[in-house]
């Protein structure tokens, strides 16, 4: 479980790039890549080590209003869990 006050940061091996062919962002890492939907792309972009999970949820809830905050929080947590499982994210205290 990822703490709300932790500050997620993309792992050194992961890099975001825009894909002109599909007009989506890709999260690239050795030999692989994840296609990001717009929400995931927003979350990944905010994983710089500066923002807390709480702040990321706030930012996205604002952007995607009137989507319920609980839904946004769920999306953020599940995407961060996916990143963590693949070793694509570190959390700074």
């Amino acid at each position: 479980m990822i703490a709300l006050d932790s500050r997620p940061r993309l792992a050194a091996k992961a890099r975001i790039r825009f894909d002109r062919k599909t007009a989506r962002y890709l999260l690239l890492y050795p030999e692989r890549g994840l296609v990001l939907n717009p929400t995931a792309a927003d979350i990944a972009t905010l994983c710089t080590g500066e923002h807390t999970v709480h702040a990321i949820v706030e930012r996205l809830a604002e952007k995607y209003a009137p989507q319920p905050r609980a839904q946004v929080e769920h999306d953020v947590m599940s995407f961060l869990a996916t990143l963590a499982e693949r070793g694509l994210m570190q959390t700074d205290p």
């Binding site: 050194a12 894909d19 890709l26 050795p30 890549g33 499982e85 070793g87």
Partner: protein, 365 residues
């Protein structure tokens, strides 16, 4: 051309020259015929044209890519195109200073291969005293802030060492460990008798690897690639012919895989003589094994035909002399007996002499 055929990865084989002589080298057995024909400007154009086709991942490989004196310029050019750039190297000959300059030029990842966990056995496979040097380079990779992929090709002489290999990868703080069983084409096919493991060896290694994968989840990606000689169905070789990968050989041939230019009857175009897009979309060789029209039975009516695409064309050719048959690795192939015979041989084999990679005309035994 539809997204069904979109290349995501360019494998740039910058040179076939290499100080090592690995007994399972994936370069063609006649590699000496393919000299370095592309200069810096040619390669940069290939990168540009590949990126325009949809490529986002670039592997700089060989042979030994650090032998290219223009590697700095190639890394810089690749990064300018926002390609995720991976250097696949033996680490020989490479200085810490040069590796540091690759970092500042934007190289994303470094893959170092080792052959085993101890110098004598590792060097025996590489045909060169290289092991200690490789470990030193792997440590530099991490010290300089790169992600490290550690690659180990598995075979009967090192399959019993997977625990030690995992421990070494952890000690080096590798981000990704590739435990890739030998694919029996090119030099590995020449040396198959001495390399092919038994099912029992493989089962044990697979269990050890699965446990490590579980334990290290989120820290180190552990990948175990089964040899297709012991799989029920063949590999989706290169994710399908001319579907996701472009390989460019040192002399400029645009290829669907590392060994395609050794198949007779196919003419591969050179990137020096035309745009990559035309070659990718229109060349007869890239289209030869796309889709299902070329497929014989049992592939043609098999529900797995869109999963494994009929397997490896090169393996089909090297085992049956016909590139357009079902990969013999498939249990449904009428030629599967060839694989069973090799497995049977592995049970009684006691290892043996290797033929080391060398220009064939001068070094063949």
């Amino acid at each position: 051309m539809s997204d069904e055929y979109r290349p995501y990865t360019l494998v740039a084989e910058l040179t076939y020259r290499c100080p090592l002589r690995c007994v399972y080298c994936s370069n063609p057995v006649d590699y000496a015929r393919h000299t370095d024909g592309l200069d810096t400007a040619d390669w940069l154009r290939v990168f540009r044209e590949a990126e325009a086709l949809g490529v986002v991942q670039l592997h700089l490989t060989g042979g030994e890519p650090v032998l290219r004196e223009d590697l700095e310029a190639l890394i810089e050019g690749a990064r300018a195109l926002d390609l995720y750039t991976n250097l696949i190297t033996s680490g020989i000959p490479l200085s810490r200073e040069r590796l540091a300059s690759f970092r500042s030029l934007g190289l994303d990842n470094v893959q170092v291969s080792i052959q085993d966990v101890m110098a004598p056995s590792s060097d025996r496979i590489a045909g060169s005293r290289a092991f200690e040097r490789k470990l030193e380079v792997a440590r530099w990779v991490k010290e300089l802030g790169f992600p490290l992929t550690l690659n180990v090709v598995l075979h009967r002489e090192n399959l019993g060492h997977v625990e030690e290999i995992v421990a070494l990868a952890e000690a080096l703080s590798a981000d990704r460990l590739e435990l890739a069983n030998t694919q029996y084409v090119a030099w590995a096919l020449v040396n198959r008798r001495a390399l092919l493991p038994t099912a029992a060896q493989l089962d044990r290694a697979r269990r050890v690897s699965a446990a490590a994968q579980q334990r290290l989840r989120g820290t180190m990606e552990v990948l175990f690639v089964m040899p297709d000689y012991y799989s029920e169905f063949p590999k989706a070789c290169m994710d399908g012919w001319g579907r996701r990968f472009i390989v460019v050989s040192p002399d400029g041939l645009a290829l669907p895989c590392h060994a395609a230019h050794t198949l007779p009857g196919l003419h591969f175009d050179n990137v020096k003589h035309g745009p990559l897009e035309t070659i990718w979309c229109e060349s007869p060789a890239f289209n030869a094994f796309r889709g299902e029209a070329w497929m014989p039975e049992p592939c043609k009516s098999c529900e797995r035909r869109t999963i494994d695409f009929g397997g490896c064309r090169c393996q089909a050719f090297y085992l049956t002399r016909n590139a357009a048959v079902t990969d013999p690795a498939c249990v449904l192939s009428p030629d599967h007996g060839l694989i069973e015979a090799a497995r049977q041989q592995a049970l009684s084999a006691s290892g043996g002499d290797f033929e080391y990679r060398a220009p064939r005309s001068t070094a063949r035994k």
